[in-house]
Structure formats: structure tokens, C-alpha cells
């Protein structure tokens, strides 16, 4: 659809607020990060020196950076896979029930409305080694829960907290996907002698594959870039570096370690990654299989 405006000014005026937000909060900082990546700045921001690609060279020789990259990959794929599996399971169940359907669906969507930091705090309290109900329950079950000391447990905690927030989103898409599968296909498969389990794996799941792929990309992007709040509120990247993802490391090195140049260089790398993922996302989504 094409809408034509009689005068040239109005469309720009209508676009202006969004353009301003984009410029001030996205383009300008991005440009600043690009610039800073080539400088070394003192801790107080009083003077700086152009050092070319040295920040990047440091970055790619730093074993901690590779460590963080590995952490990010483990974290992101855990969040994506756990989140999507649970969401699919919930969606299949919500699709089946007849009574109170709306109530379940509404409740399942709620976590999405919770702010990341609040979600983090929520799980941090639930898992607090000295007073968290879940931690105490685990202790009584013989598992010594202390995510302040155990890096693996810290990772599990951030995965749980991040996944919990993302499940609603995945759930909605899977539910919509399930509801778009024509009832007659399932019926035809039933007549063709497929058990409910087989029907799901041979008919429904393949038909959901466009949705699944879309969600995989979205979840990876989410886990890569949007989990700062959750991590900061639960583990602060620790213990040690065990939950320091690439994004958290940008913050940690820049604002805690005050290595602004190094932090900016990391941002540039992340920018490249997010750009790449966006390209992949659009490529595949546009090529999404059309079923008629």
C-alpha cells in the first residue's frame, strides 16, 4: 500500500521522534564506540591517544576474551535450547486444553512483561544460598547450592533466569504456529495410522520449522545481547569469569575496569556479530517455506 502526503514536510515530522531516538541512543553511541576503539584513554577521560588497531590486537590475544566467547556460546545455546523446548512443550499443552485456555495463555505470557533486572532479582532471591527457598530445598535434597562459589551453578542460574523471561515470547510464537497447522492434517495422519507422538514429530514439528528457526535466531540474539540486566542482577558475571558473557564483559571492562578503548573495541566486534546475525535472520526468514 502506498500513502501519498500532499506536502513533503509532514511525513518527516511524523518520523522525527523515532529518528531522534535512533540517532541519540543508537547511532551516536555506535559512532562513539567505533571512534574510541582506535584510541587509548586515561581512566579519568582527560586525555587520549590514537593507537590504531592495538585495542583489537590486545583483544584477540587475550585468553580471557576467548573464555568469555565460549561462555557466551554455552550460555546462549543453553538459553535458546532450554527456552524453546520448554516453550514448545507448554504450547503443545496449551493448544490441547479446552477449559480455561485463555487463563493459561495469559499466565504464560506474564513473565515477558517483567523487566530483566526484576527477573534477575527474583531468581537471585529464590536461589540465594542462605535464604532462597529453592536453594534451601536443594540443600535438603543433598545438593549444595551456592552460585557465589560454583561457576557452573552460577551459569545454571543465569540460564534459568534468562530462559524464564524468554519462554513467554517463544510460547506465543509456537502456539500461533501450532494453531496454524490445519486440523485436517492431524486428522489425516490419525487415519493414516500415526500415533499422537508420531503425528507430532512427522507432521507438526516439520511444519513448525520456519517458526523454530526464527525463534532460534531471535533467542540467540536475545541471549547474546539482551541478558545484561539478568546477569548483572544475579551473578555480576562471577564467580570469576564464569558468567561473563561478551556483553557483560564490555560493561565490566569499560565501566568497572575503565579500559574504555578495549571496551569500545569489544563493542565493535559485537556490532559485527549482531549485524551478521541480522543478515542471517532476514535471509532465512525471507526464504521461509510457504505452505499453501
Amino acid at each position: 500500500m502506498t500513502v501519498t502526503f500532499p506536502q513533503k514536510g509532514l511525513p518527516w515530522l511524523l518520523l522525527l521522534p523515532q529518528l531522534l531516538v535512533t540517532a541519540i541512543f543508537f547511532l551516536w553511541p555506535a559512532e562513539q564506540a567505533l571512534e574510541q576503539a582506535f584510541y587509548q584513554e586515561d581512566a579519568f577521560g582527560l586525555s587520549r591517544e590514537f593507537i590504531g588497531l592495538e585495542n583489537f590486537a590486545d583483544l584477540f590475544t587475550d585468553p580471557l576474551y576467548y573464555q568469555s566467547m565460549l561462555t557466551t556460546l554455552v550460555f546462549s545455546f543453553s538459553v535458546a535450547i532450554v527456552g524453546m523446548s520448554l516453550a514448545l512443550l507448554l504450547a503443545v499443552m496449551a493448544d490441547r486444553i479446552i477449559r480455561g485456555k485463555l487463563a493459561y495463555q495469559t499466565l504464560l505470557i506474564w513473565p515477558y512483561a517483567v523487566a530483566p533486572a526484576l527477573a534477575g532479582v527474583l531468581w537471585w532471591i529464590l536461589f540465594d544460598p542462605s535464604m532462597g527457598p529453592i536453594a534451601l530445598w536443594l540443600k535438603s535434597a543433598g545438593i549444595n547450592w551456592n552460585h557465589y562459589l560454583d561457576g557452573n551453578q552460577a551459569m545454571i542460574l543465569v540460564v534459568i533466569a534468562s530462559t524464564w523471561k524468554q519462554i513467554s515470547y517463544n510460547f506465543l510464537f509456537f502456539l500461533a504456529g501450532l494453531q496454524a497447522v490445519p486440523r485436517s492434517l492431524i486428522e489425516a495422519a490419525a487415519i493414516d495410522g500415526a500415533s499422537p507422538f508420531k503425528r507430532f514429530w512427522t507432521i507438526v514439528f516439520p511444519l513448525l520449522s520456519p517458526t523454530t528457526f526464527f525463534l532460534l535466531v531471535v533467542n540467540l540474539v536475545y541471549a547474546f545481547f539482551e541478558t545484561f540486566g539478568v546477569i548483572d542482577a544475579t551473578t555480576k558475571g562471577g564467580p570469576g569469569q564464569s558468567t561473563t558473557t561478551l556483553v557483560y564483559k564490555v560493561f565490566d571492562d569499560g565501566f568497572v575496569g575503565l579500559d574504555l578503548g578495549g571496551s569500545a573495541a569489544q563493542s565493535v566486534v559485537l556490532m559485527a556479530i549482531v549485524g551478521l546475525m541480522t543478515v542471517i535472520q532476514f535471509r532465512f526468514i525471507e526464504r521461509k517455506v510457504q505452505y499453501s
Binding site: 492434517l185 486428522e187 489425516a188 490419525a190 495410522g193 500415526a194 508420531k198 520449522s209 510457504q290
Partner: protein, 355 residues
């Protein structure tokens, strides 16, 4: 041999809605039965109950003497062709047809043989590797039939399989379905709302109205001796002219001034009917009544004349006349008609039954 028996089969939904009060039907082996009726009459529900996709609330369904009520769709040895074909979009034509055989654990070699046999029969051999979205409507329809045929089931169920095709293809597929069914000799239950489809395909027709079987019989039975005004109106195109009338010793009073003489023992309110093709053009002296012409539809081979019976008060019953060949009477003119008694249909207005 009786193949499928529906005994007082009824359907009540959990919300208390009686979709089907009670239907009795026994189908002979190899018979082609068409369930026909307007939308919402319960014909699809009845078919889905036979398929096992809807539960049977009351009564019993038997296939080859075995009670089927509690059996899963897969255990009933039936195959169904859906209105939207329900082909698995991510599978090739071959896999679509082989799916049911694979699920039943048939050997790969056997499956290949069966699928290629059926594909050859339906002219699908060239298309076996294609996906459903690469096929035309008619080809999809054929694949859906192939998928049903390959399993060699006891009963074929068709749920309005031709309603998504254009008019020309529909006629072609109709003929093809009939030929295939004759060749295979598989008992068939076919649902449609299209009475032409119903008449041309069926060995016997079941006319459903509000979940009740109004009449079961051969197409010609239903055409010649409709049991109720509903069947009379539903079978035949354009549908039968039905006029509320009153039967006395003088005959049938179609209106206060118009009486068709008849000696019949029944008295009271009746519905009088005559098919448009049975009305004959006459002259003023011999005519039974006159029609005030309101519209003329010329179809070349035949002409449909719509009008109202002319009475002194000018508000007579509407009536359609079907004449063969082209005719061009003036709109608003009068046309004199005779209604031969041998073609009359009389129904009791109260019981709605044929007299």
C-alpha cells in the same frame, strides 16, 4: 453383503446441542452412498463419526459386522479424502502416499510397488517427487485420492472433495471418481452439498436435514417420489414448485379462486408440488392456471421462466417453468399452463409426509 451399518447413530455435543438425533443406514459392499443436504445439516459430522474423528454419542457403527464406536480412526480400515485435501505440505507426493503404509510397518519394497501402481492408475507417476505446493488443484485432488486408494481400505470417505475445484474440473473429477470407485469396488461414503454431484455419483442418496435422514433411496426414487417437501425442493434444479394448498372433495385449492380437481381421501392442509420441467404451455381454454411472467432466463438449451400464479388479487404463489429450447416471452405478459396430474406431488402439511 452388508458392509457398513449405522444403527440409531446420534451425536450430542458437550454443550447439549443435538447435531444428529438418530440415523439408520446400511450400506452394501461396493455401494456408493452420497450424504447430501444444506450446510449445517450434519452430513460432515456423520461422516466424521464414521471416520472416528468425532465420537458417537448414541447408537452403534459396525463395519463388516464389527462394532467400531470405540476404535481409533486408524483401526477402522477406512481412508478419507478431505475438502482441503490435507496433503502433508513438507512431504513429496510419494511420501504423502506412502505415509500410511509406513506407519503400518509395510516393507519398503511393497510400499514402492503399491505407490507406483496407484500413481500409474491416477496419472501421477511424473509427479511423485514433487511437493504438494507445486501441484495444481486437480493434481492435489488426485494425490489425496491416491493416498486413500493406496491403503486399499474397506471404506472410502469423501468430505466435499470437489468443492475447491473450478466448475469444469469438478465435472471431470466427478466422472473420474465414479469410474475409479466402480473399478475398485470399494464401499464409499461421500458428502456433498451439491445435488447435481449427489445425483450423478450416488447408487443411493441420503438426504439429511437438521441431522435427520429425510429420505434414503436411489437418485431416481428421490426425483420421482420425494418423501417430504424438503427432499422435493432439494433434489432437482431448479427446485420443485411447492404451493401451500387445501384439499377438499372438490380438489386442491391453490388459492381462493383456483382449484385443481382431484378426488383423494385426504382432507386438510397440504403442500402441492410440480417440477418446473413438468409444466406445459397451453392455451386459455385448456389451461389449469396462468402465470404472470416476471423474469426469463435463457440458457440456450432451455429457458427458465419465473413468474407468479395470476389470481384476482394479484398476489399468487411464485412458480418456475422450464421449457426446452429458446423462448422469449414478454415480461409481465401472461403464460397459460397445464400441470399434468401424473406429475403432481402431494404432501401432508402437518406431517410433511408424501400422500
Amino acid at each position: 453383503m452388508t458392509d457398513v451399518i449405522l444403527e440409531k447413530v446420534g451425536k450430542t455435543y458437550p454443550n447439549g446441542y443435538h447435531a444428529i438425533p438418530s440415523v439408520d443406514l446400511s450400506i452394501e459392499e461396493g455401494e456408493f452412498i452420497v450424504l447430501v443436504g444444506p450446510s449445517g445439516c450434519g452430513k460432515s459430522t456423520l461422516l466424521r463419526m464414521v471416520a472416528g474423528l468425532e465420537s458417537i454419542s448414541t447408537g452403534e457403527l459396525r463395519i463388516r459386522g464389527e462394532r467400531m464406536n470405540e476404535k481409533e480412526p486408524a483401526e477402522r480400515d477406512i481412508a478419507m479424502v478431505f475438502q482441503n485435501y490435507a496433503l502433508y505440505p513438507h512431504m513429496s507426493v510419494y511420501d504423502n502416499m506412502a505415509y500410511g503404509l509406513k506407519n503400518r510397518g509395510m516393507a519398503k519394497k511393497m510400499i514402492e510397488e503399491k505407490v507406483s501402481d496407484v500413481a500409474a492408475m491416477l496419472g501421477l507417476t511424473e509427479l511423485l517427487q514433487r511437493k504438494p505446493r507445486q501441484l495444481s488443484g486437480g493434481q492435489r485432488q488426485r494425490v489425496a485420492m491416491g493416498r486413500a486408494m493406496v491403503r486399499d481400505p474397506k471404506v472410502f470417505l469423501f468430505d466435499e472433495p470437489l468443492s475447491n475445484l473450478d466448475a469444469k474440473l469438478r465435472v471431470q473429477m466427478r466422472v473420474e471418481i465414479r469410474q475409479l470407485q466402480r473399478k475398485l469396488g470399494t464401499t464409499t461414503l461421500y458428502v456433498t452439498h451439491d445435488q447435481v454431484e449427489a445425483m450423478t455419483l450416488a447408487d443411493r442418496l441420503v438426504v439429511l436435514n437438521k441431522g435427520k435422514a429425510e429420505q434414503i433411496g436411489t437418485p431416481m426414487d428421490l426425483y420421482n417420489k420425494p418423501a417430504t417437501p424438503f427432499v422435493a425442493a432439494f433434489i432437482g434444479s431448479p427446485s420443485m414448485n411447492l404451493v401451500d394448498a387445501n384439499l377438499t372433495e372438490q380438489g386442491i385449492h391453490l388459492s381462493e379462486t383456483l382449484t385443481l380437481p382431484l378426488s383423494h381421501q385426504h382432507r386438510g392442509d397440504i403442500v402441492w408440488g410440480i417440477r418446473p420441467e413438468h409444466l406445459e404451455v397451453s392455451d386459455e381454454r385448456n389451461a389449469d392456471f396462468a402465470l404472470r411472467i416476471q423474469a426469463v432466463e435463457s440458457l440456450g438449451a432451455e429457458t427458465l421462466i419465473h413468474g407468479k400464479i395470476e389470481t384476482e388479487f394479484g398476489n399468487g404463489e411464485p412458480m418456475v417453468v422450464r421449457l426446452s429450447g429458446p423462448h422469449l416471452p414478454e415480461v409481465n405478459s401472461l403464460m397459460w399452463l397445464t400441470a399434468p396430474m401424473s406429475h403432481w406431488h402431494l404432501f401432508d402439511a402437518k406431517t410433511q409426509q408424501r400422500l
